[in-house]
Symmetry: C2
Subunit: 492 residues, 2 copies
């Protein structure tokens, strides 16, 4: 929060020589340190926030999951392999869900992970134009994941998993508590129905929702990314990214907005005296090698279209109709989301049908949508061209894992998802990979100073005619007699 | 789940005479009852779903909120009035948040509630074209809210509030346990930061997130709507709607999709033998009379625009810029969301500025977006014209509370938010009401049969330069010594 503005040093990494020093910010004071320390040990107490009675998720019989061979997680109707990874952070693979009617374990996803991030800052001036980070490929999303803080990063009932990596010199090392796994009950409802009293039947059935969360938090220099993979017993997988940490700030001579001339562009928001939070975007692109009941799948754009009725056909003039379009090649599956031309996005197994004849599938349910608006010919956008669409589908190719290319530092955009997809290969009834990008536009505000409250977005992978019927219909409700018996700590 | 398809009876409600009986579905069998009973008492056990160890939210020292005069809720830095209502369900009013620096209680929202719902089904045929429900105005969203099921609708630490209403004949009655209020800890993170090891400082600070939830669940005949108002200590209010319950289904002669000719339109999905789940939309429109530090506010569209650089200005060709447009009149604030022309939507107090000179405000953060695609001249869309935009802003007018009009049964669309807003009244620096519509397109799938797992969407009201800095910076982390001491029930 105390930038030395305008001072940049250009270093040749091969010769280790300083090529250029630029110091254009001499008239800009270094902001004061006042109110920037976020450590608890340095705070005055605030009575209102301290007045919340202790509350936690409690599961005194212990977790319901087991982890075999240190990596294979088995919980309720789910099984999946979990691997900490230096570049991707966390890799979830061979995710399978048990069909509770047949007892069979069915494939859902072969492999899923954070493939790349793209974080362009919106200031084209000298000391800022190059700040367009690709955090997985440049820094290692997993390398930047520090040990989680028990009780605060994850609830009390969490299990922790270490990452075991090779350092740059080949020496193995352990990143302890890098990933946590925990069951979660939030008070939310799995399903419910109460019969209306007019039916004369006193029926009210409600099921609580319990899920399994896998979490990692990467601190990529100033910013913190919290990545959750959440598994629900109804077959849904929610992938959520939370942003917290410290904004990247710019020094300014201004102490108050009343000193700024009307037309001047600050490239962000004045957050405190002499501190500007620069506008930026965050894109997090996920690799999702879906395997719906086997590896050969198709991508179906189920378009929701207005249909006008014929004169005299109906008192209605219009209604919505679902039109299924199977993507033949990659370009059919380059998706930019449109509110007024909506679709569902299904990954189906065309060779496998339900009892009544629907193809089994999962859908990608978009959320957290923001699109990159940069010029496609802008150098950072060429490197980050994997954000040109929100959804892409490619045929599986072992060399195509990192959406921004394997070597992103050297990239001019010649090895990105955009380039691969332009080859327009066939994707129907093939082993396909779906790519989804979560996006955030971030115009900073004073509440983000000196450290920002978490902002989250998520998207879902959701069964769609995958099961014959509601897979959690038979789940039990909560009964008082089963719940933990707790007392306050002070009475211990 | 067992429709008698095609049988409709037209009744004159004044004369109580049957005007017309139409029975066009004689060839359509009534679906069998197999697998439609959702009561727990009728289920076979499923080992996998029963294998989850008891888990709950525990707060043995009791809630941290108090409710004064039966309606005034005081929790952490929040105060608001809570009222069960026959039409709106729940009304939250006079919501104020304490500024923890000054100790002052500051206005945020004068009144917020579910103003109207619009649920058009997408089948223009005889027995279905009229199914275009407006659940608040037609049935009473609050009247349809049944008593909540403790432990399952709300966690164990919930407080319940009764609704006291007048029946049609004027006799008062009590709807017990209609609303619940509870504190929630989900394992999520309020804010965090870990310093990178290269700084040499071992700093890791993480704060758990605890929120306060107000919940109601309305069972409008077949469907169940769960409405949550969630208050965060960082000043954010999240308004979430969950959908569960029973689909409205249509009988069909088909038992399998292989019997359907390619071009035939089923108006939905074959869910089970002889049962079609008809495509439909859900729109839930909220009335939000914001009062940011007082009643006179302005609505600002903070447009995020691409700016191209001049030749030679920068190695960058483009960046994004925030352009503030204050809405002068209602038409300036008729907002259809656009992914490729994004904005933030601020409600500010133009007469009050932060220490560094930003106007204090809250922003509406859209989520759960789906737009009505029906023809604007379609009769149901005329009545549901309040869904023609996702956001509207009107000047406060005591007669404009119900987005579809006061008397929706008789409506031809002459008294809707759309009509009011077309008057294009001034809204700058006035007491303004923001209207936000959550939308869902619902193409049913087999997992929704016979009862659907909850699908939720939400939007946020979030402080933006309302506080001088992060208002939860000084919140304490969790310490093991403060947490409850719990044991499994069986050992009691």
């Amino acid at each position: 929060m105390r930038p030395i503005e305008g001072l940049t040093v250009l270093l040749d990494m091969d010769t280790k020589e300083v090529v250029e020093v630029s110091d254009t910010g001499r008239s800009i004071p270094i902001p004061k340190a006042t109110n920037t320390d976020y450590r608890f040990s340095e705070q005055k107490l605030q009575q209102d926030l301290n007045s919340i009675n202790p509350i936690s998720i409690e599961q005194p019989k212990g977790p319901s999951f087991v982890i075999e061979d240190e990596h294979l997680v088995k919980w309720a109707n789910w099984e999946f392999h979990l691997k900490p990874d230096t570049r991707a952070g966390v890799v979830v693979s061979r995710a399978k869900v048990r069909d509770l009617e047949s007892g069979v374990l069915r494939d859902v996803m072969y492999k899923g992970f954070t493939s790349e991030l793209f974080v362009p800052y919106m200031d084209p001036t000298d000391a800022w134009y190059f700040k367009t980070y690709m955090d997985a490929g440049e820094y290692g999303f997993g390398l930047q994941a520090m040990p989680l803080d028990p009780l605060n990063d994850c609830p009390r009932n969490a299990y922790y998993m270490d990452g075991v990596f090779a350092a740059g010199d080949g020496v193995p090392y352990v990143r302890s508590n890098m990933v946590c796994v925990f069951e979660r009950y939030t008070g939310d409802i799995g399903w419910r129905h109460a019969e209306s009293p007019i039916t004369g039947m006193e029926i009210k059935e409600v099921r609580p929702k319990v899920t399994l969360v896998v979490r990692m938090a990467a601190s990529v220099a100033n910013y913190d990314y919290i990545v959750d993979w959440e598994f629900q017993t109804d077959g849904l997988i929610r992938i959520k990214v939370g942003l917290s940490g410290i904004l990247m700030v710019k020094g300014t001579a201004y102490e108050n907005m009343n000193q700024v001339e009307g037309q001047e562009n600050l490239f962000g928001t004045l957050l405190s005296e002499n501190v500007i939070g620069v506008i930026h975007d965050h894109y997090i692109t996920f690799y999702l090698d879906m395997d719906i009941d086997g590896s050969d799948n198709s991508f179906v754009n189920v378009n929701i279209k207005r249909q006008e009725t014929s004169p005299g056909e109906s008192p209605r003039k219009s209604y919505l109709k679902a039109v299924r379009n199977v993507a033949k090649t990659e370009k059919d599956a380059q998706i930019q989301l449109k509110l007024y031309d909506p679709s569902e996005f299904h990954v189906i197994n065309p060779t496998k049908k339900t009892r009544v004849g629907n193809p089994v599938g999962y859908k990608v349910v978009p959320g957290g949508t923001a699109a990159s608006l940069l010029d496609h010919e802008d150098p950072p956008q060429k490197r980050g061209a994997f954000t040109n669409n929100q959804i892409w589908v490619t045929p599986y190719n072992r060399s195509e894992q990192w959406a921004g290319g394997l070597f992103v530092y050297q990239s001019h955009g010649e090895d990105t998802l955009d380039v691969w997809s332009e080859r327009d290969r066939p994707i129907e009834n093939k082993d396909i990979v779906v790519w989804y990008t979560l996006g955030f536009h971030h115009i900073p505000c004073q509440e983000d100073f000196p450290i920002m409250p978490t902002v989250s977005s998520s998207f879902d992978l959701k069964p769609v005619n995958f099961f014959e019927s509601n897979p959690i219909l038979r789940a039990p409700p909560y009964f008082e007699k089963d719940l933990p018996v707790c007392r306050p700590a002070y009475s211990a």
